[in-house]
């Protein structure tokens, strides 16, 4: 019997798992995909917003600002990469300046710790490629960028380190309540039992709730956003995140520097029917391309290396839905966690445990909780003397596999065998960045494939890209059929 089963290992499920691991609980996280952070958490702008935008006195406003602050502590404890770049909201005329002023006031009410209005002349000093049509900006220095799936990995690894279990490829197919506990069926076969269930299933959180509830107080309205990725070698093109004025559709098409140097352009915003629709479209990307130049000059569209779409778990409510089920005690829902979900995540986890679950009433804190996670070795970023030392111990740090990003064999092997390891091309890409660069894996995918096969003692024919069924190869040649 578990104390808690968490369903969903995106950023929300992972960070809740970590919070839970501070208590003496028996808990497991179930994830239907073949990896942590494989859906929403993998496809967003990666921004930790300042909290200037949400409607005051909403959970979104409260937790955005609090979450932003909590990331400072998370950065130190988990050694996650954070780019402290700040942001500008860009206005081009008197009308937009009025709107900017409203945002300014909103930031004040929301208790955003730092913000100020700057005119173009001042703003352009620290942002030389700022659009020439800019008249005024709202500067938001506490805005940051992170690597969302690495945050999720870090939280989940730390949670596992502190005793939480994790199972991937585990789709919840049924939830029942009997004798004061829940019975969760996984993949139509295995049954697990738990005193409490935490629904952190993202776009599927309403479907999951409907497995047991008659009337769930929220439903998901999936909203797609498409992005371009610009090669990191244009680093320095912009220094801040650039926002346009927000509209009802959302924050708009942004320009966002990423922690490794790439620039994201996007997203657009489109309500869709199919939750699993991750396709990019001409219209979507056209929209992004048309709106981005309002923010900056000389956008290097010719350096685009990738485009992708992400789905937001927007809901019919304008705020986060975080609460206990009205029908079943100890079933907790996290519904409609769209933007600023990533920013608010640390605060959401604390709120859920302390205010909703009231966990301290039932469980003691662990006295051996270890909050720390060692920094992942990004070999190419180390100073030369450290590199030489490490190579002496592990010569495979000398074997460059991904030439574009300078990722070494040792990093890849470690990513395969780590506690939250992966044996897929995509899993290795997420953990090490091999294949994320200019040639998008053209050079290294074959090498990564061979290392995976070697390290898992399997045939290269078995190598999967993402889900176990997504194999790269169809057949071997020269084999009689």
């Amino acid at each position: 019997m578990y104390d808690f089963i968490i369903i969903g290992a995106g950023i929300i499920g992972s960070i809740i798992a970590r919070e839970l691991s501070k208590y003496q609980v028996k808990a497991i996280v179930l994830e239907k995909e073949n990896d942590v952070a494989n859906v929403q958490t993998l496809a967003n702008s990666a921004i930790i917003h300042s909290g200037h935008n949400p409607e005051p006195n909403t959970l979104k406003a409260k937790f955005n600002v609090l979450g932003n602050k909590l990331y400072d502590e998370l950065e130190k404890e988990l050694n996650i990469p954070i780019l402290h770049c700040g942001a500008f909201v860009v206005a081009h005329n008197k009308e937009e300046e009025e709107h900017l002023l409203e945002l300014y006031e909103n930031a004040k009410i929301n208790n955003v710790p730092e913000f100020e209005l700057l005119d173009y002349k001042k703003a352009v000093k620290s942002e030389p490629n700022l659009s020439k049509n800019t008249t005024k900006v709202l500067s938001l220095p506490t805005t940051k960028v992170t690597n969302p799936w690495e945050v999720a990995f870090a939280c989940m690894e730390n949670a596992m380190e502190n005793g939480i279990e994790f199972q991937k490829n585990a789709e919840v197919t049924n939830i029942k309540y009997r004798d004061k506990h829940f019975i969760i069926t996984i993949n139509n076969q295995t049954k697990l039992e738990s005193l409490a269930v935490i629904n952190a299933a993202g776009v599927n959180s309403d479907d999951l709730a409907h497995m047991i509830e008659k009337d769930t107080p929220f439903y998901i309205r999936p909203r797609k956003g498409e992005y371009f990725v610009i090669d990191r070698r244009v680093k320095g093109f912009i220094n801040h995140i650039l926002y346009p004025l927000p509209t009802d559709a959302g924050k708009g098409v942004l320009l966002t520097p990423q922690v490794h140097g790439e620039i994201l352009i996007g997203p657009n915003s489109l309500y869709i029917d199919d939750k699993y629709n991750k396709s990019v479209t001409f219209e979507g990307l056209d929209y992004v391309k048309k709106n981005a130049p309002a923010l900056a000059e000389n956008i290097p569209f010719d350096k685009i290396i990738h485009s992708f779409a992400g789905v937001r778990a927007s809901s019919n409510i304008d705020d986060f839905y975080i609460g206990e089920s009205k029908e079943y005690k100890r079933l907790y829902h996290l519904g409609g966690i769209d933007s600023p979900g990533l920013s608010a995540a640390p605060a959401i986890a604390k709120y859920l445990l302390e205010d909703i679950i009231k966990i301290k009433q039932s469980y003691n804190k662990k006295n051996n909780f270890n909050p720390y996670r060692k920094k992942r070795i990004e070999f190419h970023r180390l100073p030369l003397n450290e590199q030489l030392e490490l190579i002496k111990q592990y010569p495979t740090y000398g074997n460059i596999i991904c030439k574009c990003e300078k990722i070494t064999e040792k990093e890849i092997v470690d990513a395969i065998h780590s506690k939250l390891g992966s044996d897929t091309i995509k899993g290795i890409k997420k953990r090490t960045r091999a294949g994320s660069g200019l040639c998008q894996g053209g050079y290294c995918e074959e090498k990564v494939m061979k290392i995976i096969a070697r390290e898992t003692s399997r045939s290269p024919l078995d190598t999967a890209y993402d889900s176990p069924k997504s194999k790269i190869f169809k057949a071997e040649t020269k084999v009689e059929e």
């Binding site: 040649t477 020269k478 084999v479 009689e480």
Partner: protein, 115 residues
């Protein structure tokens, strides 16, 4: 009726025309004439492929027919090649199948295998 060909003997790809009376024009060298004549009667091609080896460091090694072979025998030749397994080191140019499918052409290695 005029017949039009693109010669494939070299990367130049001369556009060659054959008139009703058999006059050949458009070729930049004499090989084009032979090509077109053969192409009209029994088209031939060089076949390049790979064969399997037992060597982990070199699981496949590239091969070719050392002479052009009839176009209509290509798929049969491919089938024969899929039965080959190289089990010992061999030099580039080694013949691994003599007179494949009775075409008068041999299958030769186009690179050395573990040598």
């Amino acid at each position: 009726m005029k017949k039009k060909f693109i010669c494939i003997v070299c990367p130049r790809g001369c556009h060659i025309t054959v008139d009703d009376d058999g006059t050949i024009s458009g070729n930049k060298c004499i090989r084009g004439i032979d090509y077109v004549k053969t192409e009209m009667t029994s088209p031939k091609r060089i076949v390049t492929s790979t064969v399997k080896t037992i060597f982990k460091e070199l699981p496949r090694v590239s091969v070719k027919t050392d002479k052009p072979v009839p176009k209509n025998k290509i798929m049969e030749i491919m089938k024969e090649l899929s039965k080959v397994i190289i089990t010992e080191p061999m030099e580039r140019g080694s013949i691994i199948i003599e007179n494949i499918m009775n075409t008068g052409s041999n299958i030769v290695l186009t690179r050395s295998c573990m040598k």
